[in-house]
């Protein structure tokens, strides 16, 4: 009799407000992921908890290799994030984190579509509180945008699930055999949460808007949940190869010119998701292994990078490259951890990225996707450039900004240290990770070829950076924002709606102004439709209008 792990998180979230703030709560937050982990870490694969809802059978806990790997890394991430956030006393953030991580683990272990949908919505609803947790006006609106987009993903998923169940009669979450309308809707839903091109803006919008600790939590779950869902539902779907390739390319350009370093990390996240999506698209056992391994390592080193930037945000008050620099003097340990994270994401030999990214690259080459392979190579060089070099350089080195602050608090350093240890540990001893991958394929990343060529790629990229800096060609960090496709709903759509509404109002005013009769001028108060409180006359006018309309219609229709 095993209890689904998500119940621990849910129970924890309900119990948390009753625990006094301080050490007890922080310990509790560390305990919950550990307890939940024990429920499934040694469990043999299979289906466990079933339930009945709305007449359907729900499978609350399905454990196979894919689900196991993701559940494991989500639990580790929840633990590390709780350690990083030890000092937080904000109940809302803590409850939201518990519900969010629990829902993510629940979704990964969901065996059927309805359960998946419930947890999908839960992750969206819980995580928006982490965005709002910053408690500023900008964060409030950013959170609203985030919420709408995530719920849109949920709605698409709901529509797809309804259609799918209608068509096939089964609600099991397995690979979709063909691209029916239901499958397309579900793919779109997954794509939104996975930050597909043109559906990606929420990622760069919302993640930097959260608090120092909130962003670490946000980065770990939503997007990797989407990767899991894609790997489960659409492995081998060829269009994903090209979508993924696109995803690896466009963010690296933005990352170069972006000022907010946490937004650079968000672009970098998008780029790395592209690698995973390419792996899913290729669909061979090697590629899927690569995706899972990459997701595993990525959660760790991305969390590490966000942690280091979170520490900088906490102490220096900003993560804007234009305002930072010379922090190695005040925060050297944070710098070391940041460099370790940077080396991991760049896939330096002896770090975790090296042993995971190569799986995907090998698979791409083996299947003959030459252009895609070249694009991935370019993306690898690019990611080293903006995450490997730019972030540590502009935050901790570059010109001295004059900021002197304390080093990060002990809990942040410990969390970063543990994560860094894992990154390096997996890099040096990849076999334990390879053992939990879905397919049993022997792979040896440390061949002379691979090490030398990767070092070539990376160090020549570093050389390019140095040359560009020395010649002054490299663009400086400037306080700015860069436009992206979200300008459609952030600027154009509101302007368009206001313009239309204004036009309608103008039109009505221009018609009614020549009218002499006072009573007809009441039409001008069209604003009453939107809630402005006008006189009874206007109200009655609408009654009259509707009555006339209805009477005419009944006469005409019969």
């Amino acid at each position: 009799m095993s209890i689904p792990p998500f119940l621990f998180y849910l129970a924890g979230a309900l119990v948390l407000p009753l625990i006094p703030k301080g050490v007890m709560r922080s310990l509790f937050l560390l305990l919950v992921p550990v307890l939940a982990l024990t429920q499934f870490v040694l469990l043999p694969f299979g289906e466990y908890a079933n339930a009945e809802l709305y007449g359907y059978t729900l499978i609350l806990m399905r454990l196979d290799a894919l689900a196991y790997a993701f559940s494991l890394i989500f639990s580790i991430a929840a633990f590390l994030a709780a350690l990083f956030a030890w000092h937080i006393r904000d109940t809302t953030q803590q409850v939201a984190t518990l519900v969010y991580s629990g829902a993510a683990i629940g979704a990964v272990q969901a065996g059927d579509l309805i359960t998946l949908f419930c947890f999908w919505e839960a992750t969206a609803f819980a995580s928006v509180f982490l965005v709002w947790a910053r408690r500023t006006t900008g964060a409030y609106f950013t959170g609203l945008r985030y919420l709408i987009i995530q719920m849109l993903s949920g709605l698409l998923l709901l529509a797809g699930v309804i259609l799918h169940i209608n068509a096939t009669g089964s609600n099991l979450f397995v690979q979709f055999p063909d691209m029916s309308l239901a499958a397309v809707l579900i793919l779109l839903a997954f794509g939104i949460k996975c930050a597909f091109p043109l559906l990606h803006d929420w990622l760069q919008d919302a993640y930097p808007a959260s608090t120092a600790t909130g962003t670490v939590v946000l980065s770990a779950f939503t997007t990797k949940l989407a990767v899991y869902a894609l790997a489960r539902g659409f492995p081998g779907l060829e269009v994903l190869v090209y979508i993924g390739a696109l995803m690896t390319l466009f963010p690296i350009f933005y990352a170069v010119i972006e000022n907010d370093l946490r937004r650079v990390l968000a672009f970098s996240l998008n780029n790395q998701l592209g690698f995973m999506v390419v792996g899913i698209g290729i669909g061979t056992p090697l590629a899927l292994n690569g995706t899972v391994a990459h997701a595993f390592c990525h959660i760790l080193y991305k969390a590490l990078l966000f942690m280091s930037m979170g520490a900088v945000l906490l102490r220096a008050g900003t993560t804007k490259g234009s305002e930072l620099g010379g922090l190695y003097k005040s925060m050297p340990y944070t710098m070391i951890f940041c460099v370790i994270g940077a080396a991991s994401i760049s896939a330096f030999p002896l770090f975790s990225g090296f042993i995971s990214k190569s799986l995907i690259l090998s698979a791409t080459d083996k299947q003959g996707y030459t252009l895609v392979w070249l694009a991935l190579l370019f993306a690898s060089a690019g990611v080293f450039h903006h995450s490997g070099i730019k972030i540590p350089y502009f935050a901790f080195f570059a010109h001295d900004s004059g900021i002197r602050c304390r080093e990060a608090p002990w809990n942040m350093l410990l969390a970063m240290g543990l994560t860094a240890l894992l990154c390096v540990g997996i890099g040096i001893f990849p076999q334990p990770l390879y053992n939990i991958l879905p397919y049993d394929i022997p792979y040896f990343p440390y061949t002379a070829d691979h090490v030398v060529f990767q070092l070539q790629l990376l160090l020549f990229s570093a050389l390019a950076f140095t040359v560009l800096m020395r010649t002054g060609i490299y663009p400086p960090e400037l306080r700015s924002v860069n436009l992206s496709s979200d300008i459609v709903y952030r600027k154009w759509l509101p302007k368009f709606l206001l313009w239309t509404w204004g036009g309608i109002e103008q039109f009505i005013v221009s018609i009614t102004t020549p009218l002499r009769r006072e009573s007809w001028q009441a039409f001008r108060n069209i604003g009453i439709v939107l809630g402005n409180d006008r006189g009874s006359g206007a109200m009655l006018l609408w009654v009259g209008v509707l009555l006339v309309l209805l009477l005419t219609l009944t006469y005409v229709a019969r």
Partner: protein, 109 residues
């Protein structure tokens, strides 16, 4: 800026945080890159397939690819900046970019 930072590590790093130090790093990097090209040409290539096997025979392919693509990346990004860059308060107050800096803000909310 002559004050001594508290940490040993920082003091060590301060030694290279100077124009001379940066130049030294640059030269070291050049040398290492050259060495890598040489080593890359000499080692046996066993396990590459497809395109990987072809480019493996070109000495320094990965290096040149990395250098060129990175340089292109930066140049294109710089050009993109001309089209895409906007002042920080472009989306204000609906975004966080132009918000006030808060030091040690949310340490114990």
């Amino acid at each position: 800026m002559n004050e001594q930072p508290r940490f040993l590590l920082s003091r060590l790093l301060q030694r290279i945080d100077s124009p001379l130090g940066a130049k030294r790093i640059y030269y070291v990097l050049l040398v290492v890159c050259g060495l890598l090209v040489v080593v890359g040409a000499l080692i046996p290539h066993h396990d590459a397939y497809g395109m990987g096997a072809i480019v493996a025979r070109i000495p320094g392919f990965y290096g040149i690819y990395g250098f060129v693509m990175c340089a292109l990346l930066v140049l294109v990004a710089k050009a993109l900046r001309r089209i895409l860059m906007r002042p920080e308060n472009y989306y204000a107050p609906h975004a966080i970019d132009s918000e006030e800096i808060q030091k040690d803000g949310e340490s114990s909310t």
